[in-house]
Amino acid sequence: MSSATTADPAALAHHDPTTATGVPNKKILMWAFLASDCMFFGALISTHLIYRLHPMPGTPSPREIFDLELTSFSTFILLMSSVTMALAVNAIQHGQLGRCRGMLMATILFGGIFLGCQVYEFNHFVHEKSLTLSGSILGSTFYTLTGTHGIHVLLGVVWLCSILLYSAAGKLRPQDAIDVESAGLYWHFVDIVWIVIFTAVYLLEYLHR
């Protein structure tokens, strides 16, 4: 955990005089990781878009497969989870451990709901709409992209659960705010990737050509 024990955690979050860059090392590491993850998702999203712009003969119409109501609900849930995550980071930076735990639990709950919606969606697509991973190019690119995002959400939920357990054991202190903030950065990244997927994969399919 953080070595700084005396300075104000809220101030340290934005400026750490003990590092060469003035930014906490864990934070700069997380930003670098997220930048690399951008390229990963950029490749997956562009692959999906290329094959949607030039569909193979016999490709099913996504408009007949997608369920916009469910996806909109998932989007709203993920947005709300971002708010609770931001509030959890804000709480621990001001020494409010109880409030931080509550917000973390809310974030985990929202993340679980999102994952439940995705499992339902995949199950519905496979069994009711016959969209399988290997059945068509659309299925391959769609499941690879949204499945990779879903795995990111799952990892985020596991990470937040571990912080919650650590906190329940009484080992999380306000001085460790940077650890919660790192998890928060990852969680918000998952949210911004979904913002792009929601528009590029789902909404654009509904436009009249």
């Binding site: 979050a13 934005h14 400026h15 860059t21 003035g22 930014v23 934070k27 700069i28 930003w31 670098a32 997220l34 930048a35 690399s36 951008c38 390229m39 998702f41 950029g42 490749a43 999203i45 562009s46 878009l49 290329i50 094959y51 712009l53 030039h54 569909p55 193979m56 003969p57 916009l68 909109s72 989007t75 709203f76 947005l79 709300m80 971002s82 708010v83 995550m85 931001a86 509030l87 980071v89 804000n90 930076q93 001001h94 903030e181 928060g184 950065l185 918000h188 990244f189 949210d191 911004i192 913002i195 792009v196 929601f198 528009t199 909404l203 654009l204 509904y206 436009l207 009249h208 050509r209």
Partner: protein, 126 residues
């Protein structure tokens, strides 16, 4: 003459209100996106509108929820480097595959049938 000022909000309190306000705004934008796709507007305008609205949501999340607004420029620079590389690569790939010769063969129209008296190609002869 002495004047009285209302007490200033504590920093964490003001940020709490900011986060909630941004959440409401993001929900509103998402609702606007869902409504927009059903409007009988020109296709290119709707695509541009959706891209702009997504970019606004993206910006609010990274600058407010991810604290880039209050962090040093280095964090913004590191993230934007990755984002620009990813965006540039994605744009280049989409443009590249839009060129006629790059379109996946099986997604193009059926090739014209060869003349009846033409010799079969080695591949077809097998």
């Amino acid at each position: 003459m002495e004047t009285t000022h209302p007490p200033l909000l504590a920093p964490h309190q003001s940020r709490y209100q900011l986060f909630v306000s941004v959440a409401i705004l993001l929900s509103f934008i998402t609702g606007a996106e869902i409504v927009a796709i059903w409007l009988p507007w020109v296709h290119w305008f709707l695509v541009a509108l959706l891209v702009v609205l997504s970019a606004v949501k993206f910006g609010y999340v990274i600058f407010i929820f991810m604290h880039l607004r209050w962090d040093r420029w280095l964090c913004t620079a590191v993230f934007l480097m990755g984002l620009l590389l990813a965006g540039g690569t994605a744009l280049a790939l989409v443009k590249l595959f839009a060129v006629g010769d790059s379109i996946p063969l099986t997604s193009q129209e059926e090739p014209p049938a060869p003349p009846a008296n033409a010799a079969p190609s080695p591949a077809r002869a097998q």
